[in-house]
């Protein structure tokens, strides 16, 4: 059983993916049942596992492919944190997507790849070795492509091409780093830090840089972020799940793994590569915000906001102090909840009111109150208003910066908060305080679209309010840091 | 000593054939050059096989096989040349192999 559970969790999205591909376009009921069923099963398995892990159980499954090439699934607290998030959001996004697409074309292909993406994210989270991390990382790259290109029109295809043009060289860098490292240390498992003494510091810095380039593409670190805004040509559910959660978080998650489980925080400090990465993350935070300010399409603004916010996680990991780490990890959850809420809402505005530009949001608060409240909660959370989720993250990051002896981080956080406010508050102002245009339309008679947004918005509020509770993401992140990286 | 003469003839035939193969554009002449290379090699092998006190029969068998194989290849090559000439009037290959 201990080997079967991680495999079952993986299969709960892999099997629906495989079957969905072969379903006829018009077998909606079967397809929806499969995908929702898979999501529910996955959630159930994860909850079971949460209790078991709390009770001290450990899970591991491996499939040797060739010498050195071992697929290893292993559950640790960090993996659980990530799969819990992705499983919950997969379930919600599936409901949302079913409503969003209705009876549009090529749905079997869409849901097939969608589930495949989730399977890849799950596998990536559960990976216990570098090489299986890479395999799922690549699977994620590949299964995302058809989703971005889903509409098959020129903008979608060019967005998909841009995505690959960033992602594939990134994976080449990642593979290069992995093989360079493993050629000296042997296969790297996350449980036992590899012995790095065989490599000289110069080589290690090179390997670290390649790792960061490899995962940094997905985490949209400046200057490797160009694909993310371009990919906004994708349908709303894709932007919601992939561009707020799965893909970018896979990158951020990779950064955490590389720093803590491959190199180890002390080696990162000794090599002096943590600080440059923190600076890069800070630049990304500020630059993403500045660019967000210049966008007049809602989704593009959200995309640049994502670029900025994901680097909070990278910043937390790079500072390598416990509190910063807690801030970064908790932001993995918090940002996911807040950003998916906002993407859900952006999709609803587009679908139900035809609103894509910021200027068209005028007066939408009255017409679409539920959506607009959720959107506003997400935005305020991003800005970091207490007691919302974003505040908790920023608070811990700030403390972590001080703890790590990098007070300049506070400056970055303040600047970012100001910029966040500058690019989100005008939206809220338009929503609630400006009159609607004459010909504005829009309604919310689509509960399957609105409910997921309400749920995530409530969750974003809840994780902030209940941050002190031990089962909150914050409590969890504290546990992870205490258990795995503590003394 | 006679064997050496035959072996050197064989080697020279190979060289001659290679020259023809590389230098002559006309396809039938290239096929002839192929046959010169082949028979030159066989002559060399035959001479080598006759060095021992008893003549080695294995090279002779190999050579007979080789001659038959060479004929098969020549027949197909000649067929291709004729078919190409009939279809496009060419008796040499066009310059670079890059069909549009």
């Amino acid at each position: 059983m201990n080997a079967a559970l991680p495999v079952l969790i993986l299969l709960s999205s892999l099997v629906p993916a495989g079957v969905t591909f072969f379903l006829a376009q018009d077998s909606h009921t079967l397809r929806n049942t499969l995908n929702l069923g898979g999501a529910v099963v996955k959630l159930g398995l994860i909850i079971w596992m949460l209790f078991a892990v709390a009770g001290g159980a450990s899970y591991e499954a491996s499939l040797p492919l060739a010498p050195g090439l071992v697929m290893l699934l292993r559950v640790d607290a960090l993996a659980l944190l990530f799969i819990s998030l992705s499983a919950t959001l997969w379930f919600l996004t599936t409901i949302y997507a079913i409503a969003y697409f209705g009876t549009k074309a090529e749905l079997s292909r869409f849901f097939g790849f969608f589930s495949l993406c989730v399977a890849a994210t799950t596998g990536l989270a559960l990976s216990g070795s570098l090489i299986s991390f890479f395999i799922f990382f690549e699977l994620l790259t590949l299964s995302t492509w058809p989703l971005v290109a889903h509409k098959q029109d020129k903008p979608s295809l060019s967005a998909a091409r841009v995505y690959l043009a960033y992602a594939l060289p990134g994976s080449a860098a990642l593979l290069w780093a992995i093989i360079w490292l493993e050629s000296a240390t042997g296969p790297v498992l996350f449980t036992e830090p590899p012995d790095l003494s065989a490599l000289d510091p110069g080589a290690l810095r090179g390997i670290f840089a390649l790792f960061i380039i490899g995962v940094g593409v997905k985490a949209a670190l400046v200057p490797l972020h160009g694909w993310l805004p371009a990919d906004m040509a994708a349908p709303a559910p894709v932007s919601a799940l992939l561009h707020a959660v799965a893909v970018v978080k896979a990158g951020a998650f990779g950064v955490v793994r590389v720093i803590y489980d491959v190199f180890g925080a002390s080696n990162v400090a000794a090599l002096g590569v943590g600080e440059p990465l923190a600076i890069l993350a800070s630049v990304t935070i500020v630059w993403g915000s500045v660019r967000a300010l210049q966008q007049d399409e809602i989704k593009k603004r959200l995309a640049f906001s994502t670029v900025s916010q994901v680097s909070y996680i990278v910043l937390g990991a790079a500072l390598a102090s416990p509190l910063a780490m807690i801030g970064g990890l908790v932001h993995l959850i918090h940002q996911g909840l807040m950003k998916i809420t906002m993407f859900f809402c952006a999709g609803i505005y587009d679908e139900r009111a035809g609103v894509r530009k910021i200027t068209e949001l005028n007066g939408m608060g009255a017409r679409m109150p539920w959506t607009s409240v959720c959107f506003s909660l997400g935005a305020m959370g991003m800005i970091g208003l207490p007691p919302l989720a974003g505040f908790v993250s920023k608070f811990y990051l700030g403390l972590g910066g001080l703890e790590a002896g990098a007070p300049w981080v506070l400056g970055v956080l303040v600047a970012s908060t100001l910029l966040n406010a500058a690019y989100f508050l005008p939206l809220l102002y338009r929503l609630w305080f400006l009159p609607a245009a004459e010909d504005a339309r829009g309604d919310e008679r689509a509960p399957a679209l609105v409910v997921p947004a309400v749920v995530t918005a409530t969750a974003a509020l809840g994780v902030g309010l209940l941050a002190a509770s031990p089962i909150s993401p914050l409590g969890w992140a504290t546990l992870i840091v205490a258990r795995e990286y503590g003394p | 000593m006679s064997l050496t003469v035959f072996a050197m003839t064989g080697a020279s035939l190979v060289g001659l054939g290679i020259y023809g193969l590389l230098a002559l554009p006309q396809l039938l002449r290239r096929i002839i050059s192929f046959n010169l290379i082949g028979s030159g090699l066989f002559l060399f092998l035959g001479a080598a096989g006759a060095r021992g006190e008893a003549v080695d029969a294995v090279p002779q068998a190999l050579i007979i096989t080789g001659i038959v194989v060479a004929l098969a290849a020549s027949a197909l090559a000649v067929g291709l040349v004729v078919a190409l000439a009939r279809r496009s009037g060419l008796v040499v290959l066009p310059d670079e192999a890059n069909p549009r």
Partner: protein, 308 residues
């Protein structure tokens, strides 16, 4: 004396070969090549390799020559572009000379000759002629594949037919004048050729000859008969033709498989039945080789030469 003779022969061979390569005109080149083949056959006889001499004369010079001559004739009747005249090619010359020198050097660097011990094993095959023994016993797999190579070449040649001609008789129509030289020759030759060819197969077991040489002679007979109009050229779809093409390799292969079925091993012929079994295989092979070579030379089904 014999050295002088060999020197003269080899000199002649080289001159003729040179003529085939650098001589003016394709026709002359082909004629030089045929002469070359005949001289080479003499060379083989001088080396004591009578079977090879026969094969070279029949196949190397004879059939290849007919093949090239026919092709040249057809190319001349079509209005093809003439090949560009080329001057001497230093690069090609350097390569050729380098390879020739390397082979020449290798000759003098050869270690003392070693050869597999045929004498001990030959009696087990029932063959008196070691070459036949090697071809049909020790290296039977080579020989089987080789007979199939011929078939592959024939299929390739047939694939060169135009789709409209596919059901036409093989080859171009030859119109021999009734009562003309070719026609009488066509009637006269077959009986003689048939006997000679069959003799070669029979003699191959213990003396000079064998399935390939005999088959080639028979192929020549068939060719002449067809050119003379005595034998109508077959069509691809003709069952008899196709059966004749595969009977040789077929019998050979099946005998090999039969041995496996009897628990002996692939292509094994036990000494007790080696001689008769070999003879059956050889006869079948001869039929296939004769027919395959003949239709290989006359070419794919072709209704008439197009005028360009």
């Amino acid at each position: 004396m014999s050295l002088a003779l060999d020197l003269a022969l080899c000199g002649l061979i080289l001159c003729v070969a040179l003529g085939a390569v650098v001589g003016r005109g394709v026709f002359r080149s082909v004629i030089f090549f045929i002469t070359y083949g005949l001289l080479l056959a003499i060379g083989w006889a001088r080396l004591g390799a009578k079977d090879v001499a026969l094969a070279e004369a029949a196949i190397g010079a004879g059939l290849t020559g007919v093949l090239l001559l026919t092709a040249h004739g057809r190319l001349r009747r079509m209005s093809v572009e003439r090949a560009p005249r080329v001057g001497p090619n230093p690069m090609a010359a350097t390569t050729g000379i380098a390879v020739a020198l390397a082979l020449g050097w290798a000759w003098f660097a050869l270690p003392a000759p070693t050869a597999p011990d045929l004498a001990a094993a030959l009696p087990l095959t029932g063959m008196g002629n070691p070459v036949t023994g090697v071809l049909l016993h020790f290296r039977a797999w080579d020989t089987l594949l080789e007979s199939i190579v011929l078939l592959a070449a024939l299929l390739g040649v047939w694939m060169l037919a135009r789709d409209v001609d596919w059901h036409a008789p093989l080859g171009l129509r030859y119109h021999a004048r009734p009562g003309g030289v070719l026609a009488s020759f066509g009637r006269l030759l077959p009986p003689i050729g048939l006997s000679f060819g069959s003799y070669l197969v029979w003699a191959g077991a213990d003396g000079t000859g064998g399935a390939f040489q005999g088959g080639t002679v028979l192929a020549a007979v068939v060719l002449v008969a067809m050119m003379a109009g005595v034998l109508p050229p077959p069509r691809v779809a003709q069952g008899g033709l196709r059966a004749a093409l595969v009977v040789g390799p077929g019998v050979f292969l099946l005998s090999g498989l039969l041995a496996v079925a009897l628990g002996m091993g692939f292509l094994t012929l036990p000494p007790a039945v080696a001689k008769p079994a070999t003879l059956i295989i050889e006869v079948a092979l001869t039929v296939s080789i004769a027919v395959t070579l003949a239709v290989l030379v006359i070419g794919p089904p072709d209704d008439k030469e197009p005028v360009r």
